[in-house]
Structures are given as C-alpha cells and as structure tokens.
Amino acid sequence: MSKKYDTPLLDELEKGPWPSFVKEIKKAAKKSERAADELGQVEKSYKTKRGYWKHGGIVGVLGYGSGVIGRYSSLPEEFPGVAHFHTVRINQPSGWFYTTKALREMCDMWDKYGSGLTNMHGSTGDMILLGTNTESLEPIFAEFSSRGWDLGGSGSAMRTPSCCVGPGRCEWANIDTLDINYALTQEFQDELHRPSFAYKFKIKTAGCAVDCIAAIARADLSIIGTWKGDIKIDQAEVKNYAKNGMDINAEIVDMCPTGCMSYDGKKLKIEDEDCNRCMHCIAKMTKALRPGDERGATLLIGSKAPIVVGAMLSWVVVPFIKLEPPYQELKDLIRKILEWWDENGKARERIGEVIEHKGMRSFLEYVGLPPVPQMIKEPRRDPFFFWAEKDLK
C-alpha cells in the first residue's frame, strides 16, 4: 500500500536517537489500512490540536466485560480505517516469558484481524493489541482462546495480576513470584473477566524489595518478597569488595536507610533487628551478603496514580506472611479485602482512597488483621491503636 498521507508533524518525532512510535506505525501502514488511517488522524490532531478518539460504550466479547476497550474515530468518513479502533488485552504469562513461536502466531493473528500495532508491554501488564473493529472481536477471541490465551482485565475489574521475573531469572527472589501470580490469576477469573467492582483493583508481586514490577507505587495490593532473621555475611567477600575499590562506608553503610550497619575497615556488622530489608546492601554486595533462610512476603495496600485524589504509595498491612502453594491464607485475605472495599468504596475510588476516608482502623477490623508497629507509615502517624467501648470496662 502506498503512503496515504503527508505527515510533516509526526515526521518530527522520528528525529533523534530514540525509538519512535511514528516509525513503527509507518511500517505497519505499509500493510494495514487501519495503521495508515491512524497516522492520518493523529497528524490531523497535531495540526488542529484536537483529539478525535471516542471511548467506551458496549464493546466486548460475549459473556466478558473485560479485555476489550472500545475506541472509535469521531471522523469515520475521513478516516474509515479507524472508524472502529478497539483495544484488545491479552492476559500475559507470568514474568512475560514467550516463545518466539507464540509471538509469531500472535502477530499473524493481529495482522489478520487488527492494525498490526501492539504495545509490548503496557504498564497494565497485558499484551495490548491496538486497533480492530467490532465484527472481528468474536473471531479474535475464538482464535486466541483456541491457542490457550485469554483476555486480560479492564474496567471495574480485577486487573490482570503481574509479577517480576522472580526465580525465573533472579537470585534475589524470596518467593516464587511466577507461581503466586499464576495461582492468583486462576483464583480470580470471575473478578478478572466480569467487572463488578466500583473501580479497578491491581495485584503485583515482586520477589524482593528491589521491586522491579514497581508494585509499591502502582498496585492496590503489593506482595513483596522478604525474609526473617539475619542477613548472611561472608566477610572474606566483603574484604574482596574493599580490595577491588568499593568504599564500603560511603556506598553501603551510609546508604543503609535504618543506619543499622557498621564497618571498621575489617568487619561488616549488621544490627539485624533494626534492618528493614530494603535490599540495598544485598543488591550492591551480591557475593558478600545473602538474605536469611526464612522466606516469605510483606503485603502492602493502597498505591495508585492520581485520579480521585493524588498519587499514593502502598502501606504495610502484613509485615510477614509465608507463601506456599496453594496460598490459601493469601487468597482468603484478598477476598476479605475486596469485600471491604466493595462495601465502602464510591464510584472510581481505589482501596487506598477508601482507607484514607474510612480509616485504617475500620479496614483492619473488617479484614481481621491486628495493628502492629510495622504499619506506621511515617513518624507521627498514629498506629491505629484505639480503645473500643468494651476495652474500657
């Protein structure tokens, strides 16, 4: 297909050393009418400084309320290729491991039914396929599901849970993030595909506090691998780091957020009861330091990007939980958490916001978690020890 539109404004975005979405869409436009018209419409937007996408409505696969997001052009006559330009979300495998065969199959299917444009990976986690029409949705779903894929979450649903690569590639994983993520995805199929909440709910699992999945900043429930007990120190390796030029006091000891380390030029010492397992020292001195042997996770609640109120970071609610298959305790707790949120949340309120106005006390009482010192979010924040009437007798 020859080039349909001149795109002088978009062409600017191809300059410079960075990857450019314009370059990629132009490639797709050689094969796809949809991608070509997408370029045309976006160029027009840049010129007129107006958006021409309409959004939402009833669009989906029969029985599902998630996984397809309706998009339409408000200029269908001018750009017929994007009259419909729906997004399809495909539930990614834990840790984003694909075979090249699976990726080829997926791209072929998307060339057949869609614009050929994908977003690998959106921060939502799902594999995001951009640009198809309503008629193609059921055939797309049939083809994908016959190959073992399923749609991901969207709208007021549990969003597709995601996790870091964890034990798949990383020696720091304190928990099997891949297995936990898969187990939760299976457990919450109904919540994922049938949006029945007031708003979205995201679960992200990181193997350690390095938090490569950024759970602490963007998941309603963050599951972050940790350990109990002392960090294991190999003093000979500490010496090696020093010998090879590491300034242990400046780079490790002074950077420890709890100030629980000391180094006299010979021996590295850690006051483990004060360590908050932030991973800084272990990540810097991989050969010298190892986490303790009793592994589990910290559960945190409530992070989100700004919508109803500003951005929020997660808040510790369970300092340590053992996570072993079938993760029943975790699943039961999540159900309780969802119940409380669903009961108390208003439209478009994430759980962090509900905790903010209903209070952590009400949350803890309902889900049955005891208040503990680790829950103190910042100095001077009240740790929710309140006396109820019955305690005063």
Partner: protein, 81 residues
C-alpha cells in the same frame, strides 16, 4: 420466585435506567434483591445468564464498568441478530 421472573425484573430495571443512570452489576443485584426478597447470589446468577447470551452486556466509560441493554445496531454488528 421463578428465575425467568427475576430476569424480567432485571430487564425492566435496566430499560428504565437507560440513558439516565449507569448501573453497576452490584447496583442491579442490590436493587432486585431488595425489591423481590430473593438472595443476592440468585439474582447474580440470573444476571450472569443474561450476560452470557448477550441479553444484557457490560459497558464501559471513563475506566468504570456498568451493565446495559445492547442496542439492535450493536447486536447486528456482533452477528447476534
């Protein structure tokens, strides 16, 4: 109450709210359960059966979901009419 009767009530409620108020699944289940005295799980099952055959569909706006009766035009596009 017969399941068909519950479904009829759900349909009427959604028809009444069309264009006026976006109802979430939960709103429908709560309203019908209160009106009929039938427990929420049964109402939910009836609603889900309607969703499974496209009598009622999920809709989406600004990141939040609701349930609605689909238009004829949409059903035609989907090849269901």
């Amino acid at each position: 109450m017969e399941k068909e009767e519950i479904k009829q009530k759900i349909y009427e409620l959604l028809e009444k709210s069309k264009g006026k108020k976006k109802l979430k699944e939960k709103d429908v289940i709560k309203a019908i359960s209160e009106e009929t005295g039938v427990d929420k799980d049964t109402v939910k099952k009836a609603l889900r059966e309607m969703i499974d055959v496209g009598k009622v569909m999920y809709s989406y706006s600004g990141g939040a979901s609701s349930v609605e009766i689909p238009s004829e035009e949409y059903l035609k596009e989907k090849g269901l009419l």
